[in-house]
Amino acid sequence: MSHLLTDEPGSRILLMGNEAIARGALEAGVNVAAGYPGTPSSEIIETLSKVARDRGLYVEWSANEKVAMEVAAAASFAGLRSLCVMKQNGVNVGSDFLLHLGLTGTRGGMVLVPCDDPGALSSINEGESRQFARLLELPLLEPGDFQELKDMIVWAFQLSEEIRNLVFVRSVTRLSHASGNVVLGPLPGETRKARFKHRGFILDEMEGVVASMPMEYRHRRQQEKLKQAVERFESSPFNTYTGPEHPELVVITSSACHLYSREAIHLLGVEDRVGLLKLGTTFPLPPVFMEKHLGLTDRFLVVEEVIPFLEENVKILAQELAPRIGPKTIMGKRDGRLPTVGELNPDLVVEALASLVEVPYESAPEAYVKRGQELMFFGAPNRELTFCPGCPHRASFWSIHNALELDGRDGFVCGDIGCYTLAVLPTGFSTLKTLHAMGSGTGVASGFGKLGRFGMDQPVVSVCGDSTFFHAAMPALINAIHHGSDITMVVLDNSGTAMTGFQPHPGLDVDALGHKAPAISIEDVCRSLGAQVRVCDPFDLETTQATLLELLDRAGVKVLILRQICGLSPEKKRHKKYEVAVNPEVCLGEACGCNRLCTRIFRCPGLIWDKRAGKARVDEVICTGCGVCASICPEGAIEKVENREVTG
């Protein structure tokens, strides 16, 4: 049995942040959970899917975040409790639905957990989901530690049912992906029955029509609900003040920054001079509670990630309260004391705080900081970001790159988010030239593909992953076909949402619960839409390249599906297809005729350059035996022998 189902209220167990969120949902008696994979959020749905049978839940990986919200909302309309999970930019995808959901309200408790990624540790943006709470007029909670991750989920479900609207609980990478001790609460015994009531009076929120009309009435109701939430926030146990009665300065903070702030105060040894106001209910701020604490002193430092969201809200409130509490100096990001990009850390907070309390503090030496930044950029010392050994994307981009170069018309590739995003870097032969949101590669390509009349004669290629195809690329593809755009769309089908850990998607014959599910065939979809479709194995470089060259020459929308299972997928990890080795007698190395194509350009991590011998070598430990490098070596020096024994 999963440790997540430990039914010993009061006992303390070690949980990863995302597990704590899942446990919170279980303690709240969640019935339905839906999400779209995305680091740092994925483990929440994964964890819940593992206990789904035991707890009688329905859990799904939806086709995209908007659908996940809709699926979860349906459960709420039927009176169940539902959880919806995604990474930060997933909220953007579904925000249109949320705008309407805010107006219609919810019935059973519904909680949305966006996991933000300050510093973009595993994203290509550090977008803030907190802004959506303000934009959509919905309450926002920000847990500050592991216990709160669990407890605030339980509390959020209660709040949602009190105000009958969606509640945001925002996590961040540093909480979701770290672990800590959590004291468990009880797991509820009975489960709810689902029934959608729709025959009541049109304005009846529990039994009428679920619609955002009449708009004015619904909008007013939504704002009343928000006020109701604020009243509850006034006495929330998640807003706390620690520190002296008459502090010189108060640090106002939320989320993981609360931990950095506490450490900074401790490091400077100013516990008796500086107070710490940790807020868990950050939108809307509870005015009575805030008035009391803004009255403690005249100077405040707001510590948060990433943009000055809390800072601005505090300033608005301070301005409104000024007649009673007097003018306040509120510092933070807007005055440049703290950075408005990237993650914070205790050191940054110490630095900002030290100057304010005039405590000398030796911060990290400059060289150290610089090195740190380099590490942040490159991921690890002396190691660049690269596709894994045996990664099909390396082979795919090799062929795409070569086909575009051979074609010679200065063609380019529009991409989006996935492992293949790395193709902007040399590991993907710098093939990607535009990079935006999920599915955007094909949308942007659809636009480029119409510019022929303005003299653009460059071939336009888009790439998307198999999961992305279903997520958001299909409408773009439809658009391109309908408008007669000239594009070649390459679907990099590695049969799973590899980047986030092989969650199933609609193209696979299994669902989040491990049940058999009908697989949607990408080629059938594309064909029926009217695209010219080809399927190749990207490991067959020659055929792939020839096919691409042929497609690039044709007008209209062409789809090339490059299908090969991810090198890290569980089925592949077990079996090395080929034993691969370099024959040193044949290897040309640096001589004219090769100049180290394999280790200088192709650069699979499984290939190493033996400087002393002046020859290439295969590192058997790293090599996954895909055999692709054997077909790139101009001399045939890389020899592959098929492995007979098959496991599985």
């Binding site: 790159h401 070569n402 170069e405 051979l406 074609d407 010679g408 032969f429 060259l549 640096e590 004219c592 005729g593 090769c594 100049n595 194509l597 200088r600 350009i601 790139i632 101009p634």
Partner: protein
Amino acid sequence: MRIFGPNELKADVQDKGLCVGCGACVNLCPYFKNHQGKTVMLFPCTLEKGRCHAYCPKTEVDYTELSQARWKRPYDASPLGTHDGVVMARAGEGRVEGRVQAGGTVSALTAFALREGMIEEAVLTNREGLVPVPQMVGDETGIYGCATSKYTAAPTLSEVNRAAREGIRNVGVVATPCQATALALMRENPLDREDFVDPVSLVIGLFCTWALDTRKLIPFLESRVDVSRIQWMDIPPPPAEVFVLDLGNEEIQIPLDEIRALVPRGCLLCPDMTSEWADVSVGVLEGEPEWNTLIVRTEKGRALVDKAVEAGSIVVKEMPAANLEHLRTAALNKKKRAVARAREENLLNNTDEGERAAFRMDPSVVEELTGS
């Protein structure tokens, strides 16, 4: 010979639009490839000296040195180059299989050389649609399958490089003048490689005033005719001034003025009209569409022609004086144009640090050709 690397090749030839896609830099390594007539560099190579640069006929060709190495005498820009006779020729009666360009001399000589064992394979130029494709053939059917002129610049030499890598020897090549120049450079083993083996044993050169850029010709013709119907094309000698397309049941003529825009810039810098570095050279003959002009240059060429005549594979006749005079004038004019242009573009005999030349000739020769 000044030899540089792939970066200079790309910068000086390809990026300046001087590449004629001859294929001499292709198939030596994984970096240079030709697709649909265009040579591209797939990835950067960092070597400071490479065969790609050494073999290219469009950069740093030192005619003085090349002439010394090949003919043991200085380059004097004589119109037809070093030779041992010019005659009119055509294939022997009943020797031609299918269609040839003019007299069929080239195909007949190639077939004869193969039969006599002078060569074991022939690297020729076929076409797929309008795209010229090199082809290695080992029998007469193959030779006649490649007959007739493809007026597009062809990567023929990529096949020679491939043959060399695969250990194939005794290859005969039918080459345009730039290709014959590249072959001459190649056969000098300019990088002094120990593993060098000359795979070529016979070069039959073609005359050429200019070729056309495949990538430009295709859309040009596609907008005028159904290109799948093109069976044969010809540029008859002056004063015709037309490009002729035989579509089977009709013939189309396009004025050369419309075609000239499709000539790669590299052709305008080419001082060689008659494949001066070949063993024998073949062109058309003014006023005699069923005949060729044949220039014999080397001992090997002489032996081939004499034996072929003896065996009836080709028929030769004395060249009329007027034709010879016209040929000389045309060949000399090509040299003059090329030298003038090279000088104009600052690509002749450059010596300054960091400056490179397309080709080098003795200053006295330049003076003679430019009259200054």
